[in-house]
Assembly symmetry: C2
Homo-oligomer: 146 residues x 2
């Protein structure tokens, strides 16, 4: 926004509670890309191919949505696909998938370690994992090792 010359002038809010909002926003498209990359990798590994319909079913969206999102991943250089031939990951896509997968495991393990039931840990990790910074991830790792 156009920050006029010190509009912020003596803003009445103490910095004490100036909590860091503002990341939740655009972060979502990243989270979705991560989900797709991870899922596509899973499908390729387990059934040998990643078809739009399977992706859609697993994500609980329509196939049209899945196809559109895959198109975005292609634009971003994470995936490739040829009409009627299934979806594949580029190197960047595979790297992303690998990162996401290990992070997911770590989050689940951490949750379980502090007493969260298995099922809840799995489900919540799905949402949580996209918001865990490297610093926090490292802390999780350290905690789990001890």
């Amino acid at each position: 926004m156009s920050r006029p010359p010190e509009t912020t002038a003596g803003l009445p809010t103490e910095p004490t509670q100036a909590r860091r909002f503002g990341k939740t926003r655009t972060a979502q498209s990243t989270a979705i890309a991560e989900d797709y990359a991870e899922l596509i990798a899973d499908l390729l590994a387990s059934v040998g191919e990643a078809r739009p319909t399977d992706i859609a079913r697993r994500l609980g969206v329509s196939h049209a949505t899945a196809i559109k999102t895959v198109a975005r991943l292609k634009r971003e250089g994470l995936a490739t696909s040829r009409p009627y031939r299934g979806v594949f990951l580029t190197e960047a896509g595979e790297a992303l998938a690998a990162r996401v997968k290990s992070r997911h495991r770590l989050v689940v393990d951490l949750l379980r370690a502090v007493g969260v039931p298995a099922e809840a840990a799995e489900q919540d990790a799905e949402g949580i994992e996209h918001h865990v910074s490297d610093v926090t991830l490292a802390a999780f790792e350290k905690y789990l090792r001890k």
Copy 2:
């Protein structure tokens, strides 16, 4: 591609990895509503009023965005406002804010308890808190008590 004509029936993917995706999606607007409710409550408590410009500044968005989102909150019965008179929370909005606030604290405390540095804990909690289920929250509480 030996894909038998099974639609949803016995989908070839083992349930083992049928991870629960699909919540990340519409969940976002909920997360945003939570952020706003919490922030508005904060502003009302600390400076006595919640003005669109302050909300916008704290969230790092334009004032227009803040105003539009507040309009949505009003539609959803969480907030009220009259032109040029600031924003207030309905009972439902206050209840939401209170819940969000306590959950936020719990998440931060948990993160810190497992060794996450204060700053990272605060920042990550902002994103994580929206994805923590009641079951997980209860587990956090229990863990922290011991």
